[in-house]
Each structure stands twice: as C-alpha cells, then as structure tokens.
Symmetry: C2
Subunit: 340 residues, 2 copies
C-alpha cells in the first residue's frame, strides 16, 4: 500500500523532503543557515535590491486536482512566483514553501510536488531555504514566497509608463484560458492532458529570463506579467502610471491553436485573448523608438514573440481599436476571489 502522511508522521516527512532537496536541489554558498533552524539566513549582494513576492494556490480553486498531477501543480505554483520576479527584471534566488496538507495525502504526491518546485527552480540555481508544513482540514494549500534580486535601480515597476509609450506583449495571450475551457469541455478526455493549450494552463511557462533581459536594456518603462488576462494587466499598468491605454485589435497576436480551439468550442477566439487568462506572458511599455531594440533582445532570448499592440494614452481606461476604426472600451475582467 502506498504510504500516506499519517503513516510516516511529520518528522519523517520533513526528513524525506530534506533529503530530496539535498539530492535533487541546488545549494548556494550565500546561504549560511538553511532549512531546520528558526529562520534561514543568507548574505545579500552589494549593489542589488532584493525582490520578494508570494502567491498561494488552493486545491479546487486554483487547480483541478483531478486533471493536475502533483508534479505539475508544484511546477505551476513555483512558475507563477518566478514570473513575478522576472516581471520586475530580477532573478529568482531563494524560495520558502508553506504547505497545508491533508493527513491522508500520499507521501509520493508530496515528493512530486517538491520535484515540481525544483524543476522550475534548478535552471536558476535557486533553492528552497525554508518553509512550513501543517495539516489542513480539507484540501491542500501551497503558499510560496520567492526572493530574488535585481541590480539597484534596474527594477521595473508597473507605474512608469508614459503617454505615447508603445505597448508590447510576449507570446500569445489567451492560451491558458483556451486550455482551461477545453479541459472543462471534455473533463473525461485523458488525452487532453498533453494538448499544448491544456499544458499552457496546467504548467504555464514564465517569461522570467526575457523579463530580466528586457529590464537590463534600461528601455522598459513599465512591465507586469499577465495573470489576470492581458487587458486586465495592461489596465493595472495604465492605472498605476496615471494613464490610459489603447490596443489595436488587428495587431494582437492570435495563436493558431487558440483559434482552432475556439472553432471547436463554437466561440470567438477573442473571448480567450481578451478575457481572463493566466498566461504569465509579459506586458511591456517603452518609448516607441526602443521597440526594435527590445524585439531584438526577445529574438535573442529563445525567439519568443514580442509584439507591439498599442499605445499608452493620456487620460484613463483601456480601449480597443477595431479594424473599421471604431473604439470600444475594454472591461478588465479580473477574477474576484470573494465573488467567484
């Protein structure tokens, strides 16, 4: 019989996680105290600011346990924190992982969760230096704090966009939303697990390396990752910058797979592209003269698309310009945790 947490107890679970991290994770010479003391300790680097972000995932709310294995859930939870650090122009260093776990959870599922964390952290030589384990009455919750660093003065905030700045977006917004809809449409279809759009939802890739490379140019005036849907996150940038934004519908990159999923589902692809979608793409603004420079950085960074889609404007609100020239206001469709 597969072991459950209640079979081995907390102490043994901590021992096993410790040895998994030791064998499969990275270690940093800057960490003077790691897991197992009252707090972890590390030495900051001169000339760098520290970045810190945290994000939670709650079973049944942020992921569907039936369609996501623990490894993928771990990847996703870590990727979205890495995305946040990259969207500031920084690099991930150290994670603290706080888990609430039901006592009947399988030990191997907890180990798979940690392997998912490491899958995302190891490419950055980033490590898990602390955390907390507790029982949860009901489902699992995962709360990750990720610490990163960025050269002093190079952090890119949301609030620096200026009227006239170009608005760019990486990749193809809407892929995660289309993947989620496919999953909900055919919940029994096991073959869907490897569909590229479903993968975009269950294990989104982040643009953290690109975010950092763009920030290093000094040309980016504002940047954020898209976790609320592309228009919603663009609105956050515009609002924080005391400005408005205008995007041109014809310029928004449309992924062929999203278009096909929309056909299959009898929907308009723009419902995905302009709706809520946790894509972890980047919204970037810069002086229009710097667009080619940023695009060539993006091309050098794994050839990810960085598409100019509009402008920051005077005033407020985000509008979309239709092919005929008509301008329609875009509602930010951000998700509300307390209103469902």
């Amino acid at each position: 019989m597969a072991e459950r947490l209640s079979d081995i107890g907390e102490r043994e679970l901590i021992r096993r996680i410790g040895s998994l991290l030791e064998l499969e994770g990275r270690r940093s010479a800057r960490v003077s105290t790691g897991i197992g003391d009252d707090a972890a300790a590390f030495l900051p680097r001169r000339g760098y600011e520290l970045l810190v972000t945290c994000d939670s995932m709650v079973e049944g709310r942020h992921y569907l346990p039936a369609s996501s294995g623990s490894f993928d859930v771990g990847r996703r939870a870590m990727a979205l924190n890495i995305s946040d650090i990259g969207a500031m122009g920084g690099e991930a260093l150290f994670a603290l992982v706080s888990l609430g776990l039901p006592a009947d959870m399988l030990v191997r599922d907890v180990e798979a969760l940690y392997r998912g964390f490491l899958y995302e952290l190891n490419p950055f030589d980033a490590s898990i230096i602390g955390g907390n384990l507790t029982g949860s009455g009901g489902g699992t919750f995962i709360d990750i704090t990720l610490i990163g660093e960025v050269e002093q003065g190079k952090a890119v905030r949301r609030c620096g966009a200026r009227p006239g700045d170009a608005v760019l977006v990486t990749g193809f917004p809407g892929r995660a939303a289309a993947g989620l809809r496919l999953l909900l449409h055919r919940p029994q279809d096991a073959g869907l697990a490897d569909h590229p759009l479903v993968r975009a939802y269950t294990t989104p890739s982040h643009r953290a390396r690109l975010g950092r490379a763009l920030a290093q140019t000094g040309y980016v005036t504002a940047m954020t990752d898209t976790s609320d849907g592309f228009p919603g996150d663009l609105s956050h940038v515009a609002e924080a910058s005391g400005a408005g934004a205008e995007i041109v519908k014809g310029k928004i990159p449309v992924d062929e797979a999203v278009a096909e999923a929309a056909r299959l589902l009898g929907m308009d692809p723009y419902e995905f592209i302009l709706g809520r979608s946790d894509d972890y793409e980047l919204v970037v603004t810069c002086d229009p003269r710097h667009v080619p420079a940023l695009q060539s950085v993006a091309a050098g960074c794994g050839a990810e698309a960085l598409t100019e889609v509009g402008r920051i404007t005077e005033g407020q609100g985000t509008v979309m310009v239709l092919p005929g020239g008509r301008r329609i206001p875009l509602e930010a469709p951000g998700f509300d945790h307390f209103r469902g």
Copy 2:
C-alpha cells in the same frame, strides 16, 4: 448589516487594507516598491545577513475561532514569526501576509486581523510590504513570511551548543499549555479570555528583543524559541549540536499561576512545563562562565527571568535529574501535524 467580503469584493478589500496599512502601519525608506506590484523591492544593509522565516496558522488547528478574536489571531500569527527572527538574534523588518479567507467573512474581522499584525510589527518599525489574498473553501489560513536582518556573523543557530555549556530558559515554560487546558476545561467561561495563562496561549509574547540583545554579546552558542514545549526544543538544540542535554528538575522555574491552574485541574504542573506548550520563550546555551553576563543582559531587557536549568552533555538524548538524583529520559513531546 455588517459587511462581508462577498459584499465588497476583492478589489475593494485590497483598497481598504492598503489604506489601513498606510494610516496605521510604518513605512521604511528602504522599500522602493511596496504592495501592488509584481513583487516588493527593498535595499539590504551592508554588513548584515538577511533572515527569513514563515509560519502558517490554520483555523481550527492552530487557534479556536470561538475563543480568539481576529485581532488576537493576527497578533499571535505575527508574534510567532517575530519570535523566530529574535531567536536567530535578528530584528524584524518586512512581512508578507498571505491569507485564505472564506467569502462570508466579515470585512471588519479582516481589518482586525491586520491591526493585530501591526500591533506586533509597529514596535519594530517593521512593515507589511506584500502578500496575497485568496478565497478558501473552508476556514481561514494565515501564512506569514517575515524578513529580518542580523549583523554578519552574529546569527545564532541551533547547532552551536557544546558539551559542558549551560542551558538557560527565559520566563516560565508551560504557561501557554496551562492556558489552553483552562480554555478546553471551561469553554463557556467568557471571563477566562483575560486570564493571564489564557492570554499566554491566545496572544503569546515573544522574547525577540531579548534574543537579539543576548546574541549581541557574542556569548550565546545556540538559541531557539520554544514552540514545541521546552524539552522538545532543547532536544532540537542538542540534536543539531550533536550532543545531549541534562536538566535539573529543581531548577526549572515554576510559574505560580501554572501551579495554581494545575491544582484547579487536578494535574501535575510539570505536565504543562515539560509537555507541549507554545510559549515562545527562548532556550539559550553558553559557556557557564558567561551565564552571569547573559542574566544581566536579560535583567536590563525588561527584567525577564533567564534561568539556568542544566547542561549540554556528551552523547545524545535529554534527561532530567530528579531531586533524589535519579535521572529519567525526557521524551520530546512535539506535536505531529499528520498524526494529530
């Protein structure tokens, strides 16, 4: 009717928390990006190591909602993180607060939670610089990451105790356990809420200032806070240091209130003192010659008791010496989250 989270929604809740923190919390000039961006950013101090810890509280597991108001729950959740930073010899700087909240929770209870956090943070000029809000299917969970700092080389770990070192403990172990037992014994007794032992459980005070002052002397070889009960946490120190420990029963400080609660409940006070108790006192080890120096630091630090209770020994395991000279092994009674 009192407002609930579902009445005002996530955006408005975030706005209200932001304005509460602005009005009632501290601000630090070192924070270049606070709440509301992808990540917070701050400048580390030269010559200091950073400390980072996290701890969760889950409703119904770590606190009894019926007997704890939200303000007290907030205080407790923050105090135990502050205690961890102090037990390393550090000072609290910045907190990230991640909450899972049911949609029917009262807005004023969330505000009270934050006021509880600030009540503990403000005396350190520490501030909340980030966090996350999410819905929870069931009860509330609170996960706090606290960042602190300590002069490079001054962090005190658990692993530095040497055979022959004196073992000291602050305050009176067992108060929180006695308070919890009183609560469970008379759950309907509203008057109990202000009983000093019940307060020791619901809103424990930490010894973070004292921990920092002791660490500054350079005499402390190992230190930890007591969240698992005094013998359990002493065992952690001994084990991490590759040693054993011996405590003398007659030297352990017995709080008069604990003795009285034990009489009332028909129990032995040592069931509280040696059992599981989240007291957030400190266990400290040092060369025996330095005991008077540390005790005089403690006396200067609000006259908290710092009592010598035993020695670190060769070998392993923790034993207690009874008045007649008999030595009995002490079982570490640490709580197991997955076995209840």
